[in-house]
Subunit: 136 residues, 6 copies
C-alpha cells in the first residue's frame, strides 16, 4: 500500500456565523471570524490517495489525472470565490474548515475510486497554524 | 546601518474592481479577482526599518515596541476584515497589493521615526507566488 | 472523526546530559548537545485533537479555547526558558525532545478532554530536520 | 511508542519510461516526465522510525547514528546521481517516486532494526506539491 | 516606484563541466556536479519588475500578463528539460545558476519593457541553500 | 555583477542583558530575552557575496569553498554553543542579532576577498518573524 499526496491552493472569502443567531451570539462563539463583511484565506488543500503500485507504470495513480480531478471538482469551484455564497457543496453548512474538509471528501471520493485508487485523507491548512484532517 | 525586519500576518477579504467600469470591463482587467462576492488571502506583511545600532542596547529598534506599532496601526485594522469596506486607509483606492503596501507605508512612517529609526521597506506577500515591495 | 492541529512556537535553551555520567561519557552519547554552557532551539509544537464535528458550531473544538489552553499550560512555561532548569514538568528528565513530547502530552490530555475533544498527537520539530511525534 | 523523523535532501536526475514502449506510448502515460534527455528534482527524504524511549538516554534512537545510516545507505548513493543509471537498488524499476520509496525502505529496514528501533515510514517529496509515503 | 515579484518553478537536469577539460579537471572544479550521467533540481525562479503604480488599475504590471510572459519565454523552455542539451538560450554556456540567471534576464528584459515596466531582478534558488541574484 | 547567497543554520543559547544594569532594568528593556538561565534559537545565516562571473567556471565563487569558509569561521564556532560565553568574536558585546550580524561580517570579509569576490550582506533570521541584515 502506497500513499500519494497532491497539494493544491485556493484563495477564498468566508465568514463563520449562524443566521439563526444574533450578531452578539455569533461574535461570542466565532469571534472576529464572524465579521459580516467577510474575511478570507489562502487555503492549502492536500489530497491523499492510497493503493497498490501498478506494475506497468510504477504509479499508484497517474498524477496528471488526479490533478485534473481536483481542478475540475474543487479548485475551479472554490478559487477566488466566497465559500458561503458561491459554492454549491457548502450550501446550508457553516463555513468552518471542518465542514469544508468533509464536503471536499464527498466530491472526490467517487472520482478517485474510478481511477482504481482510494481516497485516504483531505487535509486543509486554513492558515499556517490551523489545519484540519478528515479520513472519511 | 543595520536593517531589521518584522514579519506579521493577517487574513482579509477583498476584490479588485472599479465602480465606474462595467462588470465586463472589470472582468477583462482584473479577471477572477473581481468576483463581486469577494475572495481573500492570508497576507504576510514584512516591515523593514533601518538605523544605527544603539550602543546601550545593541538594538536598531526595540522589537517589542515595533511589534506594538504594527499591531496598533495595521494588524488590528486589517485582520479578519474586508479591505474594500472596513479599512479607513484604503478608502477610495483599488484594493491591489501595490496600493495596500503604499498605504501601510504612510501609516507606519512617522511612528517608526518617533522611535529613532527609519522605515525602509513594506513587503507584502499576497500569495506564496505574488509579492509587492515599496521603499517610499 | 475530524482531526484539528494547532501550531505554536517557543524558543528555549537546553542541554542533554546525565549528572551521573562523566563529561566524557556525556560527550560520547550526546555529542555537542551536551555542551555545559547550553544551546537552544526554536521549537515548533503541533497539538492535534480529534472528535466529531459539533452540529451547532461546525467545530471539533473552539480554536480560541485550544490556543488559550496551549498558552497557559505550555508556551508560558517553556518560552524563553531553560528546559533543564526552569520547567517544572521536565524536572528529573533528560531534556530530549522525546521526553518533552511525552511530558507535554500529560499537561494537555485532561484540559482537552474537558472541552469535549480528545488529544491525538503531540508533534515537536526541534530543528527543520528533527521531529518527534507522540500519540499517548 | 514514540516516532522520530529525520529529514535529508538529495538532488538527482531521472526520467520515467518503459524501454519496451515506443516514445509515443511513453509520452502518453508519463508525459513530459519521459523526456529522453532527463530532468531532475531536489528530493526531500523523511525517514520515520518508532520505538520506546530508552531509559538511560531518553532517545528512541541516537539521531547521529540514524543520520549516518541514511547517509551511507541512501544519500551517498543517490545524491547528484541519475536514478535510472547510477543507482543499484533502482535497477530494473521505473524511476517513479513510488518505486523509490519502496526501494529505500528495503535499504533501511534492517540497519534501523539493528539499532533497536523499527522503520515506520519512508516519505519522499519529489516537488513541493507531490509526495509519496510508504509504510512497509 | 513599486517592485512586484512573481515566483515560478521548474524541474530540470544539468551537469557542470567543460568539454575542453578532462574528467579529472572537471571533477576537481565542479565536484559531484560534473557527474556525466547528470543530476537535477527543482529550481525556483523569482522575477522582479519595477515601475510606477498605474492610476487606472492600481497595478505595476498585470500579473496575468507577466505570468504568461514567464511561461512562454522560460518555463515552457526549461521545465522537465536538460539545461545543457534542450535549452537554446543556454547553448555554449556552462550550466551554472549564474549563467542561467543572466540568460533568463536576456529573455525577459524586452517583453517586460513592452508592458510598460522594467525588469529589476532575476533570482534563482537552485536548492533551498543556494541562491543567485542578477540585476542586469 | 552577480550575487550568490549561501544559507547555513546553527542552534545556540543566548541572553540579552547588561551586567552593569540591575535585573529589573534588564527586564524592562530586554523582557523575557534577559532570562538569567538562558534561552536559545535555531538561527538561519544567509551569506551573500558578489562579483563578476568567472569566464572559465561560470561561477562568482566556488560554492564548496564558500561553504568551507563559513563552516570554519562561523558554524564550528557558534553551533550548539552559548553566544555570550563560548564565542570569542562576541566577547564584550550584548548578544543581539544586530551585534551578531556585524561580528560575523568581520569574520568573513577578508576570507571572501581572498577568493576574488566581495562580501555583500550578512542576514540572520533569529526566528521566522525576526530578521537582521547588515551590509558592512
Amino acid at each position: 500500500m502506497i500513499y500519494l499526496t497532491r497539494k493544491e491552493r485556493f484563495s477564498a472569502a468566508h465568514r463563520m456565523f449562524r443566521p439563526d443567531w444574533t450578531d452578539e451570539e455569533n461574535m461570542q462563539v466565532f469571534g472576529k471570524c464572524s465579521n459580516p463583511n467577510w474575511h478570507g484565506h489562502n487555503y492549502i488543500l492536500n489530497v491523499t490517495v492510497k493503493g497498490d503500485i501498478k506494475e506497468d507504470t510504477g504509479f499508484v495513480i497517474n498524477m496528471n489525472i488526479l490533478k485534473q480531478i481536483i481542478k475540475d471538482k474543487i479548485i475551479d469551484i472554490v478559487d477566488h470565490k466566497n465559500l458561503n455564497i458561491d459554492v454549491g457543496f457548502m450550501k446550508g453548512k457553516i463555513a468552518t474548515t471542518e465542514n469544508l474538509a468533509s464536503a471536499i471528501w464527498n466530491e472526490l471520493d467517487l472520482p478517485v475510486k474510478n481511477q482504481g485508487a482510494r481516497l485516504h485523507c483531505i487535509k486543509i491548512e486554513e492558515t499556517e497554524n490551523n489545519t484540519i484532517e478528515y479520513y472519511g
